[in-house]
Symmetry: C2
Subunit: 355 residues, 2 copies
Amino acid sequence: LKIRGVGLRAAGLRPAMEAAERREISAMLRGFTRRLFGGRTLPSYLVMAVLIVFIVGAALTMLLPKVVESGAVVDRREQVDQRTDAQNSFTIIMQSYNRTDLLLKLLNHYQAIPNLHKIIVVWNSVGIKVPKDLWDSLGPHPIPVVFKEQTVNRMRNRLEPILELETKAVLMLDDDILISAYDLDFAYSVWQQFPDQIVGFVPRKHVATSSGIYSYGSFELQNALGGSGDHYSMVLIGAAFFHASYLEKFKVQLPAVHSLIDKTQNCDDIAMNFIVAKYTGKPSGVFVKPVDMRNLEKDSNSGFNGMWHRAEHLLQRSWCLNQLAAIYGGMPLKYSNIMISQFGFPNYANHKTKS
Amino acid sequence: LKIRGVGLRAAGLRPAMEAAERREISAMLRGFTRRLFGGRTLPSYLVMAVLIVFIVGAALTMLLPKVVESGAVVDRREQVDQRTDAQNSFTIIMQSYNRTDLLLKLLNHYQAIPNLHKIIVVWNSVGIKVPKDLWDSLGPHPIPVVFKEQTVNRMRNRLEPILELETKAVLMLDDDILISAYDLDFAYSVWQQFPDQIVGFVPRKHVATSSGIYSYGSFELQNALGGSGDHYSMVLIGAAFFHASYLEKFKVQLPAVHSLIDKTQNCDDIAMNFIVAKYTGKPSGVFVKPVDMRNLEKDSNSGFNGMWHRAEHLLQRSWCLNQLAAIYGGMPLKYSNIMISQFGFPNYANHKTKS
């Protein structure tokens, strides 16, 4: 009955939930019931019993404190129990492969972030037991952690739609990155103002050469547009907020893109930027300048290094750019040169230029 | 025939021009013709002559290079003749009072800004001749300058709708401030992404005390919302881009607000922030961190200092805040903590935090 309970609470607490979402949940419940009873028609007393459980559940839900949904970013801090309010909070999705020690550290680090609803660990260490017992034995923990065991180690597992995801906002994090609570809290408030874009901390760009072939990179590449400063056309999803609905869009895109990602075990983040740019017609990302973001890879004892250490990693990413442009029949990525910081943080004078 | 020519060119070059605007121009032309001929009916040969001039004008307009309007910020630099394209350029409005030497310096400084369409000087030095002859004698100048002589020295003259204003974007500048071309170019591109807000370089905030009385200020006031960093709720219009349509909204607002401004010769910028916040339901301003912005007041030989030197200046501004809140029946200003900088400028590493 756990799934039903979740569905009911979601329906009761989310006034803005679209009809489509409701239908989805009903369909899910029907499917669940069918699977449970092997597709046979249910006896009427069973139906009645289920109905009574529903009604009691709904009545109990009414007793929960009412959370008023507020669009204003500035109101967020006033909430007392953030976890009951899936609309004004976000879910961390973190894919883990072969670095359990690092994962447990990060799970501890990320327990006290404001507005965090839940952490979902996409467990790509196929054949290795999830560390759930260890985690639970050292509880209680303030934020629920869900381990999703995978049957195959694929890069794009983290972009599969997830049943346990109840918030509109996803914070996707690589399993070796540590970002300060200040940065995450601020970036989440920025995402609330740009909810259809990827709001994150790592910008990248594509550059078209005169031959028409694209290169992937960062500051080391020429500024594609000339002029002062630099531009970016992607924000990597290993340290970014984006809307949960993009997981659905990622799922239903052309199979050729899925094949590309599975073949390289790379480029899922580039593909996500293509989706957002194409869907919005805007630059896919909004870059927030981090105040304190660290790579913890060297803290791991597993001896396993991130996939971006592979010799072919960057070459693959340029290759992916060109493949994706071919699949899309054009280049949807758009440039931006906007960098957002928090006014008056880390110090009052941060809006003055040092001379 | 100058006004007709402008009307025609505008009609030909601006595909997005609303019907209302067209009607306005026709009405203006009719009014102009009536005034010209003292309201008498025109002889038919005169009407024919005017028509022929129109047709020839229209034909000549067709020969002008076609400027394709582009929503994308990044395309701006590719334009060859920026001045022909009123949609992708902005107009400087600068009010001048008693500091002609400073004005002439600034007019020279601001001649080579990208995407500048025209400079309009609101001449508040009533009874003193505009320096047009001197300006013209040292021409030619790349950007047209229009001097608008005023009959009374009022703070809010600069916010009157102006016939010569052809662009959607206004850059309003105090007559003692110098901002780098880099900053202006970038801020204009930001305004194109936030066209209903005031995009500028000087943020201020209101703070409500427990007594319900508002204070006006900057970093010296407490952070109204608590938490890390600071917030702002106004962006001053003495160094900011905003949409030309707000001049019309300023004109038709409650007379009580006009009286308040005329009584204090102050607070026109606070009133403008109220209008934008009320109209959009958003924070009125978007703060762009300037890289190089200077006050040139001390360069003036006129001995006249800016009005903000008056002892009562700041007290008046807090007073205005409370008066405006009373007139509005509430406080429309909203807080923001977003600060926008240009990615990769002034140096490639500006997105890294110095440790």
